[in-house]
């Protein structure tokens, strides 16, 4: 959470996470440079400069594969949520690894070009009309540009300034970037290698990403939040039965207007807030209430379920909803209140007594 922005928000968990990723990157590069020449020789043989270039390229591909596996795995099973927590740092490091790969390429192939380095890169091969010999560098340039956009807009300021909706749409660039990297490898190094082991490893990674995304998307469609039921007499919508909500937890439903509402039961009273966290639109309804505050399972942002406000000195706010209990049904007014509007909690005992009598 932010009060005033600072360059990088680190805490103990994030230090451990970042150090682990750094160790992973260094370990990968070390294994690629020192172990693979004996176990998986590059054929035709390559010089040390190209070997380093491939080490960083392979590492960037490995990290992108890891990044893309974390999202769907966390949706399928919450055990993977801690990996999601600091994924932006992983993304920034991935950009630097990919940039190192590109720097090796420029330094080795275009250093002594009589033309400008970048003009030479863009103009050397322009056979865009054929698959064999296709300028695979263009896929790499596109992917690096996407990673650049993601890395330079990773600070929390961008989330608040652009809104989570635009920020997330922008960060969808990771998907075309990954496909572009697969094409960069497939039409590049894969065409050159006699030994297909590297190609099969890279292909297996890409297939894993494709399968986990399909499984997660299907899981979300089947197990996702149920839709609400509109009432004929007014515009309110039925979310669930009172008995469906456990003390300290929420029931989430998708309203007719597409918004998601989370109805919490806390100390015998119901409160409804938007399910989308103000930070990254994480699912607030999957959090548990402690001392009137629900904690977003993605990044730990907290809100008072009665007001939709983060505790002072934090300033984040989410919309609240008016609700009522009728004949044991929890009903919500789909017109959300502006973020941070206090709504009096509805005691369920009193409401149910009204039904019984």
């Amino acid at each position: 959470m932010s009060v005033k922005y600072i360059p990088v928000q680190w805490n103990k968990f994030k230090y451990i996470y970042d150090l682990t990723i750094l160790a992973l990157i260094m370990g990968f590069l070390w294994v690629f440079v020192h172990i693979t020449p004996g176990v998986l020789p590059h054929q035709p043989a390559i010089n040390p400069q190209i070997h380093n270039m491939r080490a960083f390229g392979a590492c960037a591909y490995f990290l992108m594969t890891l990044i893309l596996l974390i999202g769907p795995l966390a949706r399928i099973n919450h055990v993977f949520l801690p990996l999601l927590y600091n994924r932006r740092h992983l993304g920034v490091l991935t950009f630097f690894v990919a940039f190192s790969h590109a720097s090796f390429v420029m330094g080795w192939y275009f250093s002594f070009s009589p033309a400008d380095q970048y003009e030479a890169l863009l103009g050397t091969n322009t056979s865009y009309a054929q698959l064999l010999g296709f300028p695979f560098e263009s896929f790499g340039i596109f992917a690096l540009f996407c990673l650049l956009v993601l890395a330079v807009t990773s600070h929390d300021f961008w989330l608040k300034f652009l809104t989570p909706r635009i920020w997330k749409s922008l960060h969808y660039l990771i998907y075309p970037a990954y496909v572009a990297v697969v094409a960069h490898i497939g039409l590049g190094v894969l065409q050159d290698q006699k030994d297909l082991t590297f190609g099969f490893i890279a292909g297996a990674g890409a297939i894993c990403v494709a399968i986990t995304h399909l499984v997660a998307a299907r899981y979300e469609r089947k197990e996702g939040d149920p839709g609400s039921q509109a009432l004929a007499r007014d515009n309110w919508e039925v979310i669930c039965r009172v008995d469906d909500i456990r003390e300290g937890y929420a029931k989430v439903a998708c309203l007719q207007n597409g918004e998601r509402v989370a109805v919490f039961l806390h100390e015998g009273s119901l409160s409804a807030i938007s399910n989308a966290c103000a930070h990254q639109n994480g699912p607030l309804g999957e959090g548990k209430i402690i001392d009137c505050l629900v904690t977003c399972p993605w990044h730990g942002f907290q809100y008072d379920v009665r007001t939709g406000r983060s505790p002072a000195p934090f300033t984040e706010k989410v919309p609240t909803y008016r609700l009522r209990v009728q004949s044991g049904n929890v009903e919500v007014d789909p017109e959300a209140n502006p973020p941070g509007t206090p709504v009096e909690p509805v005691p369920i005992e009193q409401s149910l007594e009204g039904v019984r009598t």
Partner: protein
């Protein structure tokens, strides 16, 4: 000017305009539209590369926020419906790319004897 030269020129011009936008936004604009940025200086240089890359978007958002035209409801409506489309499109493209890449590979017999090529005869 070749296509490559044009692309490099456009990229340089884009970055320079972005740099100018970054200077004005970070010195004047940011404090006006974000209360959390008031008095916070150290993080601002980190935003320069981002503004250089997406400066049209920055100008648009700056205008929306400064003129009160921002629609607060959209902040709480994530683009979740597109997950399914993205997952399917990405899976299809990955499979197609891999199939294409493996199928167009050229394999050469290793035991073929090398041939000395003749230089082409002079024209005319």
């Amino acid at each position: 000017m070749s296509a490559a030269q044009s692309l490099v020129f456009i990229a340089q011009a884009w970055g320079l305009i972005g740099l100018a936008v970054a200077a004005v936004f970070l010195i004047i604009g940011i404090s006006q539209i974000d209360e959390d940025a008031r008095g916070a200086i150290a993080f601002r240089p980190l935003l320069v590369p981002g503004i250089m890359v997406i400066w049209p978007l920055v100008l648009w958002r700056w205008w929306l926020l400064a003129t009160g035209r921002d629609v607060w409801k959209l902040r709480h409506k994530p683009p979740r419906k597109s997950h399914w489309v993205v997952a399917v499109a990405m899976a299809v493209l990955i499979v197609l790319t891999l199939l294409t890449s493996f199928s167009i590979r050229q394999t050469w017999p290793a035991d073929i004897a090398p041939q000395l090529l003749q230089a082409p005869e002079a024209a005319g």
